[in-house]
Symmetry: C2
Subunit: 265 residues, 2 copies
C-alpha cells in the first residue's frame, strides 16, 4: 500500500528514448526543459540508432533469435561505448552547460544498479541484464548533494561483467527503490502525446488511468496491445510505492497545457 508521503521530498525520474536522442533539435529542447525542472531529478536514456549504425560501420551484423536482438560480446562493446560513453557524456556535458551538476552513470559505477545476466530456458540473450538491486543509499546521497544522476542502459553483475539492460526497466527500478525515501514521479517520454484511445489519433489522449479504468479499457480492447505490458509495468511500479507515473511527449515538461497520461492507483 502507498503511504501518505506528505513529508517526503520529491524526486522526478525521466526516461527518454531514441526519438529525442536521435534528433539534435529535440534533444537540445529537452535538455533545456529538463535542466529547468525544480527539485531533485534523474535522467535515464536509451540508446537511439547510433549503436546500430556504428555496429554496421564495423561490419557487425545484428544477431537476432526468435525476433529478439541478442547482445553478443562485440555488440556489448559497441553499446557500452555508445550508451555509457558517447551519449551519456554528451548529455552530461550539455546539462552542465545548462547549469545542472549532472553526473553520468552505468549500473557498475558505485554499484548503483546490480543485475543478473538473463537466464532464459530457450533463448540465450547474451549479455543482457535484469535488474536485481539498486544502491539506494548512495543514489540518495548523490541527490542530497545536488547531483543530477544521468543513467545509461548498462548495468553489471558484480562479478566484472557489464550487461545491456532495458532503459524503461532501469527507470522503473530506480523509481521503486527511491520510493522508500522520496515521493517519486516517473515520466516516460515517447513520440506520442500520451496513451491514446485510438492509436491513430493523437487527439485521443487518455488523461488519467487508474486500475478500474484500466480493467475496463482492457476488457473493451480499447488499448492497443503494445501498450499493455507498459501499463502493467506502470501499475506494478505504483503498487511498489511510486507515487505517480506520466506517459507522453517531452513537451509536457515545458508547456503546462500539453496533454499527457497520468497513471495512479
Amino acid at each position: 500500500m502507498v503511504e501518505n508521503n506528505i513529508d517526503k521530498e520529491f524526486v522526478t525520474i525521466i526516461k527518454i528514448g531514441g526519438n529525442i536522442i536521435d534528433n539534435p533539435a529535440e534533444l537540445a529542447s529537452f535538455l533545456a526543459d529538463f535542466a529547468a525542472l525544480e527539485g531533485k531529478t534523474i535522467l535515464v536514456h536509451g540508446g537511439g540508432k547510433s549503436a546500430t549504425k556504428l555496429a554496421q560501420s564495423m561490419g557487425l551484423a545484428p544477431q537476432m533469435i526468435e525476433g529478439r536482438r541478442i547482445t553478443d560480446a562485440p555488440m556489448l562493446e559497441v553499446v557500452v561505448g555508445v550508451y555509457a560513453g558517447q551519449i551519456n557524456k554528451e548529455i552530461v556535458a550539455r546539462l552542465q552547460a545548462n547549469g545542472l551538476n549532472a553526473m553520468g552513470f552505468s549500473g557498475a559505477d558505485g554499484n548503483l544498479i546490480l543485475s543478473d545476466k538473463r537466464n532464459h530456458a530457450t533463448i540465450d540473450y547474451g549479455f543482457v541484464g535484469d535488474v536485481k538491486k539498486v544502491n539506494t543509499n548512495l543514489l540518495a546521497s548523490l541527490l542530497d548533494n545536488g547531483i543530477t544522476p544521468v543513467f545509461c542502459a548498462i548495468t553489471h553483475d558484480g562479478k566484472g561483467q557489464l550487461l545491456n539492460t532495458n532503459a524503461d526497466t532501469i527507470a522503473s527500478e530506480l523509481a521503486i527503490a527511491l520510493s522508500a525515501i522520496y515521493d517519486v514521479t516517473l515520466i516516460y517520454c515517447f513520440e506520442k502525446p500520451g496513451v491514446l484511445f485510438d492509436a491513430e489519433d493523437d487527439n485521443s489522449v487518455i488523461e488519467a488511468i487508474h486500475p478500474d479504468l484500466y480493467s475496463k479499457l482492457k476488457a473493451e480492447q480499447a488499448i492497443h496491445s503494445g501498450m499493455i505490458p507498459k501499463l502493467d509495468n506502470c501499475f506494478n511500479s505504483l503498487s511498489k510505492g511510486v507515487q505517480q507515473i506520466r506517459i507522453g511527449h517531452h513537451r509536457m515538461l515545458q508547456n503546462k497545457r500539453a496533454t499527457y497520461t497520468t497513471i495512479t492507483l
Copy 2:
C-alpha cells in the same frame, strides 16, 4: 613550500597507460593489486590502442599536423566512446568485482575537471583540452564516502563541449588539487621499472631523484630527452604541494622489493 602534512589523510593517485590497458593479463594483475591498496585511491587511465583500431575500422584516418595528433569531431566521438565508455566501464566493473566501490568519471561528470580548449598560435589541435580547474570539494566528498574515482582522459569546457585531455596531466592536476586536503602520492605506471641512468638497461633504475640530483643528471646529459618534460612536470607538481611521486612498473604495487624511482623535493 610543502607543509608538514602529518595530520592529513593519505590519497594515492595511480596513472596507467596503454601497456597495461592493451594487455589482458597485465590489466587483471594490475586491477587486483590496485584493489588491494590501503587507504583512499584514485585511478587515471589513458587510452591504449583500441581507439586507433576502432577509428581505422570505421575508415577514419588519423589527422596529424606537424607530427601532432589532431582530435577532430569524428575522432572525439571515437575516443569518448572508447575511453569514457568501453575502457572506463570495463575497469569500473572489474574493480567492483575486486571489492572496490569504483565510480567512473569524465571531467564533465560532476564538473570534476574543467578544461579550456587548447588555443595554439599555429596548430589547431581540435577538441583537445588543457585542465583549468578541479572540483576538489566534490572529489573529496566522494573519497570520504568510500568511492574510488576512476578517471578517463576526457574533460569538458563547461559550455557543452567534451575535450580529449592528456591522462598524465589529469593525474598531476588531480594530485595538485587534492594536496590542499590530503597527503598525496602520485604514481605513474609505465613499461619500465623506473627512470633509468641508461635507457637500454632496465637494471639502471635511479632510486631517488631530488632537485640537486636532477640538475646534475641534466647537466651530464644522463637522462634521455623524452624523460625531461615528464620530470619537469613532476617537480612542478611537487612544488604545488604533491608529497611524493613514483615512476615505475606496476609490479611495484605488489612486490615491495621491486625497484622504482621516487621523486621528491
